[in-house]
Structures are given as structure tokens and as C-alpha cells.
Symmetry: C2
Subunit: 307 residues, 2 copies
DNA sequence: GTGAAAGCGCTAACAA
DNA sequence: TTGTTAGCGCTTTCAC
């Protein structure tokens, strides 16, 4: 491991000159530059990234907190983030959370320690208030509609897509919609139920709500609990497809099934779907992370019927 | 931003004592420790991660080179890697490559610069030789069967699963198999063709090979080129499902379609599939990355018929 | 054009 | 138990 100091000693120039010669900042004579560069090549020298970061006072790391990786929601956002990060020289560090508050807090602490320049929460369990308190250590971006207006966010404005979906369900004379969620309490859950209530002008009964739908196969597992409904509003196409599959295998008449994210599995079965444009949301989240402004960007969801 | 130096000055103790008091390494009197800790809390002090890394001489970063993110192959490996990294305190940095050799080289250079402690290539385009040359800068793990035995790898031993699949195809009297690949030249491509040749005892004709199958929808796009075959061997379930879909929509008789990775889309359509166990491969790749040994681990693929 | 020196923030060996 | 000192590797200001 040759260091800049080594080069300085061996070449006879000072560390400053060597640094200038190699970085291209500041004046160095042609001869000196040539000597130093040749020596650097010969000794297989390369500047140490950590030392540079310390001297510059900043890593080019952005942390992305993801509850799960395979979930379409998160993998789409991630893809959007990578899309954009790519051109900028920032590194994306994946921080798996599994909705563990302690973990989420650890990641916030790492932001404080300057392990990251910014943090993107694709979702969170920890209180919004706690997150707000960490903003002083660096930009934090949320991927849902925050209560506070003083934190950056890029999120799906789901109301529009949901409203269109529910109106369509209404037109199909569905009166008993079953809902599939990952968690009982979450921004997604509440916005779904609220939009339903507004569209249908009636409250959702507790029996209509089924939780624990996280991975594709959960749709299959939950099948037995869904026979009473005339329609199902699932939280992703993959899960919707699994529900479909359960009914098919049990030779039961299928309810109308609506998915989300416009994925391949849903397309195959021609299930209606709400596309929340998470790719775009990820892209915007990254841009917010490297910008100095605090802004909130809403992306309108879209109900897709025939694909 | 309070630094350790600030704490030292304000508390009247030396930097060394402050460091010891806060890190817990070495002897510090109760009183001193209390004073320092209180002051640290009061001033909202936290050690700077970059400075620590420099002092320790190492980041806890592992870079993972991924050509694409949404591809099932890569997202499964990634999930396996995260699975394991999770318990260890290592951070996983995603490095999108899109099979760009320059990019891949840049990532190797970053390893050299100590931006990462180890590098995992889930796939690569750059020559194996080049990669070998960078091993002196840190552990590098490949996710395919390398020619050289002096580099670590965790990979799918696809032969077994492929052989079973081709034997089964043979039993179904398929004589004209179409192959879907992402790239024409790749380790996957060659092992597939070779296993086929061995099982069928005949060469693959160039017309049997279709490339450019990367994303799910590519299966649909390639549909028109596949009508001549009595069976299709696709490079993933998602792509296989899309092929299925194209035939269905065009009301054409379907060939036998075999997918890979045992994904939901394939399960829905009851397509046979070769499960390459990429999750496990990812887990092992991570363990190799943090171990000091050079080892090669092969995971046997599995042909799955009825799911 | 070049170099000395200070600084980035922390750790650790060695004395005291 | 605590402080002194050197060091991690690089950047940058400011004289010369």
C-alpha cells in the first residue's frame, strides 16, 4: 500500500506537490508532474478513499432504508433510486429494516455519525417525530405523505387511483370488498380505507380487513379467509395473483380481484391494478436526497383496467 | 458538530481519556467517565464514522455489482447477501453495472482505493483475468463457476437441474427446443447449451437461440420468433410467463415452456422450472466476502415439475 | 512552482 | 488512572 507520503519521500517532492500533481488542482511544473505520475504508476499508487473522505469531510453515501427487498413496492423504489444515483457518483447503501424500530433508529444514528450524507426511508415504523429530530444531521426523505410539512418526501398520491378503482368496483355492483394489507396501522392502510369510505359513503367493517399480506405467497395463505367477499382489493399484483390462484385451485367462484403496481403476474391474469409509479417516486426521492431544499412531491396513482 | 477534540478542551481531559471514556476501551476513573459522558450528551456528541474508519484503516463496506436490480436472478442473490450482512454490521453498497465493462473496472478501482473491503460480482462482463488482478486489493467473490481456481465463488451448479429438465423434455418427445437468453456469450448460455448437447446428443442449431431476454416483458416481445418450437427453455419464470401470455393472446397452440427460479408467475401457470437457489448463493457469497479464505462453493440446481 | 505546516477526527502505544 | 505523542492519508492555505 503506497501512500502519498511514500510518493513524496521517494520523489523528493513534498506531499503538497504530489497531491497537486495527481489531483490536478493547483500549479505543478510539467517535469515534476511527469516524474510524480510515473512514480505513482510504477508503485501502483492510488489515493485512499477513506482518507479523502475525511479530508473532504464527506462520504458520498446515501442510505436507503428498506423493510423488505423482494417486495415490488421496495424494489421499484430502489430501482428508481439507483437509476438516478448512477449518474451522480453517489453510492447507495441498503439498510434492511424489517420494520424494526431499533434498527431504524440505528440508521438515523449512523446519519448522525456521518456514515451517510442523506437517508431515504422507503417506509418506516418509527415515529415521524423522531425522524424530524434527526433532520439536523442531514437530509432525510420519506416515501409517504408526511404529517409535517418540514420534511422532504416523494410519495404516491394514491387517492386518485384508489378512488377510480373503488368507483369502478361500485359500478360492478360490488358491495362487500375485502382488503389485503401488510400491516394494520400504516399510511397505506389508512389512505385506502379513507378513500373507500369517501367513495362508497360507508364505513369499512373490521371483518373486511385482512393483514399480514407481505410476500406473494401470503395471498395464497389468506385465501380461505376471503371466500365471503364479492371483490378483493389487494396490496400488490403478486399477492392478487396468489389469491386468484387459491380460488382457482379450490374451484371456487372468483371474486373481482384488484392488484397494485401493474406487475406481470397481474397482467397475465388481466387483473385490474392501481399503478402507484414507484419507479418515479424512487427517482425523485434520490434527487431530493442530494438537493438542499426541503420539498414534498406527490405522484398521482393510476387505475388500470385492461392491459 | 462537536468533535472529540472539543470535548477534550471543554472537559479539561486529554483526547485519549475522552476517547477511552466514550469507547469503553482502557481505564478511566468513574468521575472522569461521568463528567465526559455527561458533557458528550449535553453537546450531542457522536464520533465521526469517517474518522473512525480512517483510524481503524477499514470501512465496513461490501460492494455488490449488479447488472440489473429487478431481474429475479439478481434480486434473489441480493436478498441472500442482505440476509447475512444484516447480522454482521457490514454495509452493502449496490453497484449497478448494466454489464458495462468500464463501470465494472471503476468498481474494481474503488476496491483498490479501499472504498470497499470486498466486492461481490453477481455477474460480470469484464474478463476473469482482469478480476484476478484486483484480488490483491481485497476479497472478490464471483457468482458463477470461474475458470481459475484461485478466486472465491458461490454459484449454481446448473448442470443437474438442466439435465433433468432436458431429459424430461426428451420424454415429452420434444425435438425442437427454443432457448431464451439474455446475452449470447455468457457462462449461463454456455452451460445451458452444453448440457443440452450432452443430454440430447446433438448440437444446438443457431436458429434455436434467441437472445435479448432480460426483463419479463422481453418474453412477450420475443413471442413472434418462437412459433416454430415445440418447447421453450426460458431464462426465468417471469419471462416464461410472458411467452405463455403471448401465445395465449394470439390464440396459438402453446409449446411446452420451462422457466427458472420457481417464481410466482410460473407457479400460477404451472410451468415447470429450474430452481437455481440464488438466495442461498447470495448468502454464501457474503460469507465468502468476509472470510479470509478463497473457496468455491457450488449449489445444485433443481428441476421442479409440479408445483 | 514548491514546500512547510496545519488540519480533518479519531485511535493506540508508551510514559508518567 | 491519565496525558503525551505519533499516526491513519489526504487537502489546502500561505509563505517562499
Amino acid at each position: 500500500m503506497t501512500s502519498l507520503t511514500d510518493l513524496a519521500k521517494l520523489s523528493g517532492f513534498s506531499k503538497a506537490t504530489v497531491s497537486r500533481a495527481l489531483s490536478g488542482n493547483g500549479y505543478v511544473s510539467f517535469e515534476a508532474r511527469k516524474i510524480i505520475q510515473d512514480l505513482a504508476n510504477e508503485l501502483d499508487y492510488t489515493p485512499n478513499a477513506i482518507a479523502q473522505e475525511l479530508a473532504f469531510g464527506t462520504t458520498k453515501n446515501i442510505g436507503v432504508v428498506l423493510p423488505y427487498v423482494k417486495h415490488p413496492f421496495f424494489s421499484q423504489i430502489l430501482e428508481g433510486i439507483l437509476d438516478k444515483s448512477f449518474e451522480t457518483g453517489y453510492k447507495i447503501v441498503i439498510l434492511p429494516s424489517n420494520y424494526d424500530q431499533n434498527l431504524e433508529l440505528q440508521y438515523l444514528e449512523q446519519l448522525r455519525k456521518k456514515a451517510f450524507e442523506a437517508l431515504i426511508f422507503t417506509s418506516r415504523k418509527i415515529s415521524e417525530e423522531t425522524v424530524l429530530n434527526y433532520q439536523k444531521y442531514g437530509p432525510i426523505i420519506l416515501c409517504h405523505n408526511p404529517k409535517s410539512k418540514t420534511i422532504s418526501a416523494s410519495y404516491a398520491e394514491r387517492e386518485i387511483g384508489y378512488r377510480d378503482a373503488f368507483q369502478w368496483l361500485k359500478k360492478q355492483n360490488c358491495t362487500n370488498v375485502g382488503f389485503l394489507f401488510s400491516r394494520y396501522k400504516s399510511p397505506t392502510t389508512s389512505v385506502t380505507l379513507q378513500t373507500y369510505t369517501e367513495t362508497y359513503q360507508q364505513m369499512v367493517r373490521p371483518e373486511q380487513i385482512k393483514t399480514g399480506a407481505v410476500f406473494s405467497t401470503d395471498g395464497y395463505k389468506l385465501g380461505p379467509e376471503l371466500t365471503q367477499f364479492d371483490s378483493i382489493f389487494a396490496n400488490s399484483d403478486d399477492i392478487a395473483a396468489n389469491v386468484w390462484c387459491w380460488f382457482e385451485e379450490n374451484k371456487l367462484p372468483k371474486p373481482i380481484i384488484i392488484g397494485q403496481e401493474a406487475l406481470i403476474a397481474g397482467k397475465l391474469l388481466k387483473l385490474p391494478s392501481v399503478d402507484n409509479h414507484f419507479l418515479q417516486i424512487g427517482r425523485l426521492a434520490f434527487e431530493l436526497a442530494i438537493s438542499k431544499e426541503i420539498k414534498q412531491l406527490a405522484i398521482k396513482s393510476e387505475f388500470i383496467l385492461h392491459r
